[in-house]
Point group: C2
């Protein structure tokens, strides 16, 4: 019995964006269902004592270079955003609300649109107005979304999703869990594929 691939990501994570562009083909090749879990890395980092990669002395310059090079290497369109990182709670809440209201497919379509808006078009996806507008362009009821994003239920839901992810050992983005095996980073797709192919790693 094959279980789903659990895919955890933060909307401000470039490597999360790369993973989002490649993970559907991988899941589909091995007949696996895919669960998209938006989380808030800022909350996670409070526990691990981490800071965004690009803000670490010396490492930061390398990270900006490595992100662009990794995008080229994998043939993924990428422009480093002028504001980086940024707050992603509006985007994450919106995705959860869209999933509850319109189902998984629309939520995933929305998630990929947020990533594209941020890492290709350079839009400020931290703004709730922009998020509502983007969702509306995908056929979502903007007024209902705006009300939903401001409500307590979706805020509680995102808090719970992030806490649940941490309980399962998630500490970064992207992070994948398959058959109880954890993989951190877009650069572990090779090992994840080995597991999907052979049932062990």
């Amino acid at each position: 019995m094959d279980s789903a691939i659990k895919f955890y990501f933060d909307f401000s994570s470039p490597y999360g964006y790369f993973a989002a562009m490649k993970i559907e083909a991988l899941a589909s090749n091995y007949g696996r269902r895919l669960e998209w879990h938006p989380i808030l890395l800022g909350v996670v980092f409070k526990t691990t004592g981490s800071v965004p990669l690009t803000q670490i002395p010396i490492k930061g310059n390398y990270a900006v270079h490595d992100i662009a090079r990794t995008a080229r290497f994998h043939g993924i369109p990428y422009q480093h955003p002028s504001v980086f990182p940024l707050a992603t709670q509006h985007a994450a809440r919106a995705m959860l609300w869209v999933r509850t209201t319109y189902g998984d497919n629309k939520a995933v379509e929305f998630a990929k649109a947020v990533y594209h808006a941020y890492f290709v078009s350079g839009a400020d996806v931290s703004q709730s107005d922009f998020i509502v507008q983007l969702a509306t362009s995908l056929g979502v009821d903007g007024c209902a979304l705006e009300a939903g994003m401001a409500g307590a239920p979706v805020k509680d839901q995102l808090r719970a999703e992030t806490a649940l992810a941490m309980e399962q050992g998630v500490f970064g983005s992207p992070f994948m869990i398959v058959d109880g095996e954890s993989f951190w980073g877009f650069d572990r797709f090779d090992q994840m594929e080995e597991l999907l192919k052979n049932g062990k790693i």
Copy 2:
């Protein structure tokens, strides 16, 4: 005109060990000379504010698991040492002294023996006695090495090597610089190979 691959590593770094097991074949396949640069990650981490991966909450458990899995995935023998990480200044100084006295080939042979002793046999490579004994088994004059390791010149040399590495942007292990392009991590071997193959990345 092809330049050398500069390979920076700390003797307590598991991913540095993996790189050491694979980098000679890669360099040789593309006709590149290889420079082995032992550094002290502890000194580097004071600047970047980093701590050893395995000591970070949540991340630590994952790291231990990922290291063993990565070894299996690449067919490299590995046993997680009972003392980890440990101090590597004796091993690094010894390698520099062996290089000065016996040349590159013997120094590289010694470096690989240190890595094997630590990550396969579980030896305590932080002890200068053990380091001298290991070098002796490779034909090095143990008395001369012992005196050399205790002297100021090799200590200054290691300090200078580590400072020089940091000036070139080195902040982790393994770290490779090829044709001015920097690669951090054993999981960037794929991108480094792309550069070696095509002259660009």
